[in-house]
């Protein structure tokens, strides 16, 4: 796991292929669905190949042909055992996933089993004009229709803000990120970032910069700060403001301090580029010019030692050099996040 790399993260690699390709893959599947629907109309007899498990299942259950769905509200539930006749792998997988726990009456298997999400099985076999609901959109189900299946149960808690969220607005399906038959899913700390990077490639590039949060090491993962399902905060952050979010891990910067540095109290991202920077401490820009964006005439504020520009790097002035090297202005004004020293008005102590 130490060597864990993108190609080793099985699910992530698959998602790389699948998530962004989801629309296209779905389109391909949907073509198949339409083709199959036409066949259904023709009611071609089914030829059963005894060596073909699907055909065997079809024969056993008088399966006809898949049809485009026209509504799944009615029909008889047959139970997972029947589903397992053809989809044993799926059913067995479900049994070791949270969705497959029949003892938990909130889960699909605590209710109707596979059919709780995929629709009544009876329609899958005998009735014309119906089909199962495919969560990959195989039968042409729209993203919203598929998501509505999940939201039937998952509309509370962390999914409270899904409708109208950034990801919902971008037509992401739940299965774009989640493997609903699988136990660990995108929650797994070691693989989650690869799932997110499938779309957020610029953020992936940020993590390789000289200064970055430990995202490459999976010690900070996307969901530590963001709720992919939307939130009441900016940028789908877990907390209600940017600073509250940062204080979750950096409580020492919370204060409130006696002497505040207003931008720091307002919005950490005014000075920091949180996903990665080539400047130290995730700063937006090199100093002292970063500070000079807001502090142009520092001579009169601090006293006679201050000078107004550090324009010439080669001036060989050791007095000016102290404003340029290492932490530049913050060599002395080290308390840029605020000071609680009664003599710390200049954020030096």
């Amino acid at each position: 796991m130490v060597l864990l790399s993108a190609s080793q993260i099985q699910n992530a690699a698959e998602t790389t292929t699948s998530t962004e390709a989801a629309t296209a893959v779905e389109a391909s599947a949907e073509v198949t669905a339409k083709d199959e629907a036409k066949q259904a109309e023709e009611k071609a007899p089914v030829e059963v190949d005894p060596a073909d498990p699907v055909a065997a299942g079809e024969a056993k259950h008088a399966f006809k042909e898949p049809n485009i769905c026209e509504g799944m509200a009615e029909g008889e539930f047959l139970g997972p055992d029947v589903c397992a006749d053809c989809h044993q792998d799926k059913v067995e997988t479900m049994k070791v996933s949270p969705h497959g726990q029949s003892a938990d009456k909130r889960t699909p298997f605590g209710k109707e089993g596979c059919e709780q999400c995929h629709g009544p099985g009876e329609m899958h076999f005998d009735t014309e004009g119906n089909c199962i609901v495919s969560m990959t959109g195989r039968f042409g189900e729209s993203v919203q229709q598929r998501n509505d299946v999940c939201l039937g149960c998952h509309k509370s808690g962390d999914r409270m803000h899904w409708v109208g969220s950034l990801h919902e607005s971008e037509d992401l399906a739940c299965v774009s990120c989640h493997s609903i038959h699988k136990r660990n899913d995108v929650i797994h700390r070691n693989s989650q970032s690869e799932v997110c990077f499938t779309c957020h490639k610029d953020i992936r590039a940020d993590t390789y910069r000289a200064s970055s949060h430990p995202i490459r090491e999976h010690k900070v993962i996307c969901s530590d700060c963001h709720n992919a399902h939307g939130s009441a905060g900016p940028k789908s952050l877990n907390q209600f403001t940017i600073n509250e979010n940062c204080y979750s891990c950096h409580a020492e910067k919370r204060g409130p301090f006696l002497w505040e540095h207003y931008p720091a109290s307002e919005d950490c991202t005014l000075c920091h580029r949180v996903h990665g920077s080539n400047h130290a401490a995730l700063l937006n820009k090199q100093g002292p010019q970063l500070c000079q964006q807001c502090h142009a005439d520092i001579r009169t504020q601090g006293g006679g030692r201050h000078i107004r520009n550090f324009l010439d790097f080669d001036d060989n002035d050791p007095g000016r050099a102290r404003f340029k090297v290492v932490s530049n202005c913050a060599n002395c004004h080290i308390k840029v996040h605020g000071s609680n020293h009664p003599s710390g008005a200049a954020l030096q102590r």
Binding site: V31, A33, T136, S169, S248, G255, V325, N331
Partner: protein, 764 residues
């Protein structure tokens, strides 16, 4: 055959999209032969009608020949080699193909050994591989479910390293859940630093008895390491008394310990006047770190069909063992300096979040939260020297109090399948109720003068409105557009600008140009202005602080997703952001940030996956200043940071009993600046460019000895080099180069490291 292959391709697609999840014959549930029994009286989820219509609307794939798809499916089916003909037992029961079963592993225990070729703090900063030598590989993933709902799991990573993580979980699903978590996060910052101070790790730093910074500094320098480590223990319980109710509570305790660095400034002679400090000197110090943070989250959740509510309490208490730091001035060993360290503080917040289903396929969500941040750490004295005689402190501690009010109301409506409407109001308030007092302060220790200043508690009120609509014209095209309003009212003494407001319009157009090509174009325009800008008395009146300044912001972008074949997927994306600070003569005047990304994923065979990406980003900005202190700029600085990141990787599975893979990342950055002396009509002495270059190569192979036993080998090579003029060549003390400052002698942490790993993975 057509039907068979289409199902097969569906299966494969579903495997890729949805699952490669666990299936193990000897899992507890499987052992008990559990088969879910449909419960009586349960109703199916109400699936919206008109699926067919939606399908047509969404796909728009009528123009793609079905035979093309089927041909691809057949080819894929042949390549998979799944023995379809052997998928039935003699009794005619279906057998899941072994190749698929073999991927569905639930439990995995990995043990092994690795070796790091060299000491490299930057390489091992967060992963714990900072030191040359062997290390233990230990990872564990075990889970079990039982028919009665009981379950437990153990998940651990990097157990042999200082970046270890371990989580134990168990309970009865649907009734309760308990978990315990332990997490370590090292931060190996620098092992090239030196300091003459004694007592490193304490809050009182002294110098050797015979110390003179000009004569015997080198002899007294001692190496030490800048490193901290976070250790966090967390426990939680989730209780579900009834199906619609849930109560979650988690408690965590984190300790951060080690040594950090801080600048520390003192005036080593008494000042000649209140406006001038004599011989100001700075020494970088090893700062002791021993901080505890306790966090509690408690949430009562209700989830009904139509309405959902979360009532949440958050608590965070920060306790710093060291609230002050004193040091002996290396430039005048008879003087002592003192500074405060982060004060203890507390945060409590209560929030209520709710969602409600409304008619016309609409949903209303709302949130209101009240939070309180407090800080009452006892003050340090004004000064630890006796040169100045300030009056008594107005109070012994700040008794700081900030109230946070956050509220949100969002209405999301989907009146038709084609139309989505969202409207959101958001309110965030920071109300700093800390009382104001006047402090007769001593700017720096050893200064003989006092100054007066009053604290200026900072408050703001932020109002946002977000409106957007998304209309899908047909299967091909959709358009999204909206308006955003962001108003910030700031309240503090000497406020430059009481109010800023920003109006934003945006639009996004998506079109399916072809059955295999998706195109999206995005544009956004913002304009920020506000109340009168009142420059501070001691500030250049032409300065506009960039977060308060008038600003025109433009964002445009586009993306193309192209599924060249079912094996090859290509995307390209460009984003371009431009900020124009329209009223800023002094300060930040302009910033642009284009980002370009292309990537591909190619799956030539079912067992071979490849990917690659390239991201190019530039961050440009321009700022102006006035050395003369006039309202006309006499110097300008243009900055450009560029980043190139290339990644490529491949995995070849089932190569006999072998799986092999490789991942390569090249990341380069450069930072350049052009300083222009406008008054002299020429360029100034330029700052050197900064540069970083990272090469990371990971090669790995797994030998699948059996379905249960996998032998793993890995090689990770990483090389990093950087140029940073701000620290390269800066000596601990060189008065001819940098006046009156003593640093720690940090160097750019270039490295060239190999990591070799050999491990055994037992899966079942």
């Amino acid at each position: 055959m057509k039907r068979k292959t289409s199902l097969l391709i569906y299966y494969l697609a579903a495997t890729a999209l949805v699952s490669s999840a666990a299936l193990a014959e000897d899992k507890p549930v499987a052992e008990q032969g559990a088969a879910a029994v449909p419960s009586e009286g349960q109703t199916a989820i109400d699936i919206p009608p008109d699926v067919d219509g939606a399908a047509q609307a969404q796909t728009g794939t009528e123009d793609k020949p079905a035979t093309e798809t089927l041909k691809a499916e057949q080819e894929k089916a042949e390549e998979t080699g799944i023995p379809i003909g052997k998928s039935l037992s003699e009794e005619g029961e279906l057998i899941v193909p072994e190749e698929i079963v073999s991927e569905q592993i639930l439990n995995d225990i990995e043990l092994g050994i690795g070796y790091v070729s060299d000491d490299a703090y930057k390489f091992g900063r967060y992963n714990g591989l900072q030191q040359k030598g062997p290390f233990v590989i230990g990872d564990i993933d075990i889970e079990a479910f039982y028919e009665d709902g009981r379950f437990w799991s153990v998940h651990g990573t990097n157990l042999g390293l200082e970046s270890r993580f371990l989580r134990l979980e168990g309970g009865v699903q649907g009734s309760y859940k308990l978990f315990l978590e332990y997490d370590e996060l090292p931060n190996y910052r620098d092992n090239t630093v030196q300091s003459p101070f004694l007592g490193i790790g304490s809050d009182n730093l002294t110098l050797p008895s015979v110390f003179d910074v000009n004569t015997n500094l080198d002899a007294n320098l001692n190496s030490f390491d800048l490193e901290t480590k976070r250790r966090r223990a967390k426990a939680g319980v989730s209780f579900i008394p009834r199906q619609s109710w849930q109560f979650d509570v988690d408690v965590s305790h984190e300790n951060k310990q080690g040594v950090d660095a801080t600048g520390a400034t003192i005036a080593n002679t008494t000042g000649s006047s209140p406006g001038f400090i004599g011989n100001l000197t700075t020494a970088y110090l090893p700062e002791p770190v021993d901080q505890d943070t306790d966090i509690v989250n408690a949430i009562l959740r209700y989830a009904g069909d139509d309405g959902q509510v979360d009532l949440k309490y958050q608590m965070s208490i920060f306790d710093n063992k060291y609230n002050s730091l004193t040091w002996q001035d290396p430039f005048n060993t008879t003087a002592q300096g003192s500074m405060s360290l982060a004060p203890d503080n507390e945060f409590h917040q209560l929030s209520l979040t709710g969602g409600y289903v409304l008619p016309y396929n609409s949903r209303l969500t709302g949130m209101i939260a009240m939070g309180r941040m407090t800080q009452n750490q006892a003050y340090n004295p004004y000064t630890v020297n006796s040169n100045a005689s300030p009056s008594a402190l107005p109070q012994s501690s700040l008794d700081g109090e900030v109230w946070l009010t956050n509220a949100q109301l969002k209405l999301a409506s989907r009146p038709t399948n084609s139309l989505r409407l969202n409207a959101e109001l958001r309110y965030n308030e920071r109300d700093n109720k800390t009382s104001v007092a006047t402090y007769d302060y001593v700017l720096l220790d050893s200064d003989s003068f006092t100054r007066t200043a009053s604290n200026r508690p900072y408050s703001y009120k932020n109002n946002r409105i977000n409106l957007d609509a998304n209309y899908r014209f047909n299967a091909i095209t959709s358009l999204r557009g909206g308006y955003k309003y962001n108003e910030m009212k700031r309240s503090y003494t000497d406020a430059e600008r009481d109010k800023t407001k920003e109006d934003t319009l945006f639009a996004k157009w998506k079109v399916k140009a072809h059955s295999t090509v998706d195109v999206a174009l995005f544009a956004e325009a913002s304009k920020r202005d506000g109340s009168d800008y009142n420059s501070l008395v001691n500030e250049n009146p032409a300065l506009r602080k960039y977060y308060l300044a008038d600003r025109d912001r433009t964002k445009v972008g586009g993306s193309i997703d192209y599924m060249a074949t079912d094996k090859l997927f290509l995307t390209a994306r460009v984003d371009y952001n431009q900020d124009d600070y329209t009223d800023s003569v002094i300060g930040l005047t302009e910033a642009t940030q284009p980002v370009y990304t292309v990537d591909f994923s190619y799956t030539p065979r079912h067992n071979i996956t490849t990917y690659g990406y390239y991201t190019y980003e530039t961050i440009e900005s321009s700022q102006a200043g006035s050395a003369a202190g006039t309202t006309t700029a006499d110097w300008q600085a243009d900055f450009e940071d560029t980043f190139d990141t290339i990644g490529i990787g491949a995995k070849w599975a089932d190569l006999g009993k072998w799986d092999i893979g490789a991942d390569i990342v090249l990341s380069k950055s450069s930072g350049s600046s052009e300083m222009i002396d406008l008054s002299a009509a020429g360029a100034a002495g330029q700052y050197p460019d900064t540069r970083t270059e990272l090469t990371s190569v990971k090669l790995w192979t797994d030998y699948n000895y059996s379905k249960q036993l996998v032998y793993k080998l890995g090689l990770w090579f990483e090389e990093y080099s950087a140029d940073n003029w701000a620290i390269d060549g800066v000596a601990v003390y060189d008065p001819l180069a940098v006046e009156n400052m003593m640093f720690l002698g940090s160097e750019t942490l270039d490295y060239n490291v190999y990591v070799i790993t050999a491990s055994m993975s037992y899966r079942y």
